[in-house]
């Protein structure tokens, strides 16, 4: 695993020292957050819980994408984050509405 960390550091050598470690911490934290979302997704117990878990996973992914943009020093992932922010909620809304009244488009 140490080799993988050094490779990771190598890929983020453009960063300042604090930022680099913060980014590593951030990435790890968001991945753990994703894993926690998955835990809730599996546990349930209700469909709402699962939808909520997925919704949270979307938000965490957004943050992860932004962080990766910093790590890789590229802005090309900005659009993906933008799209999640703008339209990612629609999936949640539709599922919730489905739970609520079945028909999502009346």
């Amino acid at each position: 695993m140490s080799s993988s960390i050094s490779a990771f550091i190598a890929s983020s050598s453009h960063l300042g020292g604090f930022t680099m470690y913060a980014a590593m911490f951030g990435v790890t934290a968001f991945v753990i957050a994703l894993a926690l979302n998955l835990y809730r997704l599996i546990r349930g117990s209700n469909t709402e819980d699962r939808i909520l878990a997925l919704d949270t996973a979307y938000i965490n992914s957004l943050a992860l994408t932004v962080l990766l943009g910093i790590v890789f020093n590229t802005a090309v992932f900005f659009e993906a984050a933008l799209v999640i922010a703008l339209l990612g909620f629609l999936g949640t809304v539709v599922m919730a509405k489905f739970l609520h009244q079945g028909d999502i488009v009346e």
């Binding site: 300042g16 604090f18 934290a29 809730r40 938000i59 943050a63 932004v66 909620f89 809304v93």
Partner: protein
């Protein structure tokens, strides 16, 4: 090379954001009831993401030598849309609870919810 203050600032935002997001997701995983769980992620995540986006803004404003404001858009969109998700989920979840919720002012002013119908 990045000035140290900026480095620290960016790092700080990232750490704050990550911590809040993590706590939010932890809450989602830990808490025992849907109506409790939903409080965790819908907010902690938004602040978490907000902080990370601040970091991104600062970072890219520095690297491209021009202010990077489009991260603000993400924040804006998130603040517009996140309440809707939570709102809709709560609406759905309330169906499962199937309980009437008494209104504080009703007992004093207008009677019970049942009378209202």
């Amino acid at each position: 090379m990045m000035p140290i203050w900026l480095d620290v600032l960016i790092a700080g935002f990232i750490v704050i954001g990550a911590v809040f997001a993590l706590i939010g997701s932890y809450g989602l995983a830990k808490l025992g009831d849907f109506v409790k769980r939903i409080h965790g992620p819908t907010k902690a995540s938004t602040l978490g993401v907000g902080a990370v986006l601040m970091a991104s803004m600062l970072y890219f404003s520095f690297t491209t030598k021009s202010p990077s404001v489009h991260e603000l858009l993400i924040v804006l969109f998130l603040f517009l849309t996140a309440p809707v998700s939570a709102h809709m989920l709560m609406r759905a979840a309330r169906l499962r609870l199937r309980e009437s919720i008494p209104r504080l002012d009703e007992s004093e002013n207008r009677g019970t919810a049942d009378e209202r119908r």
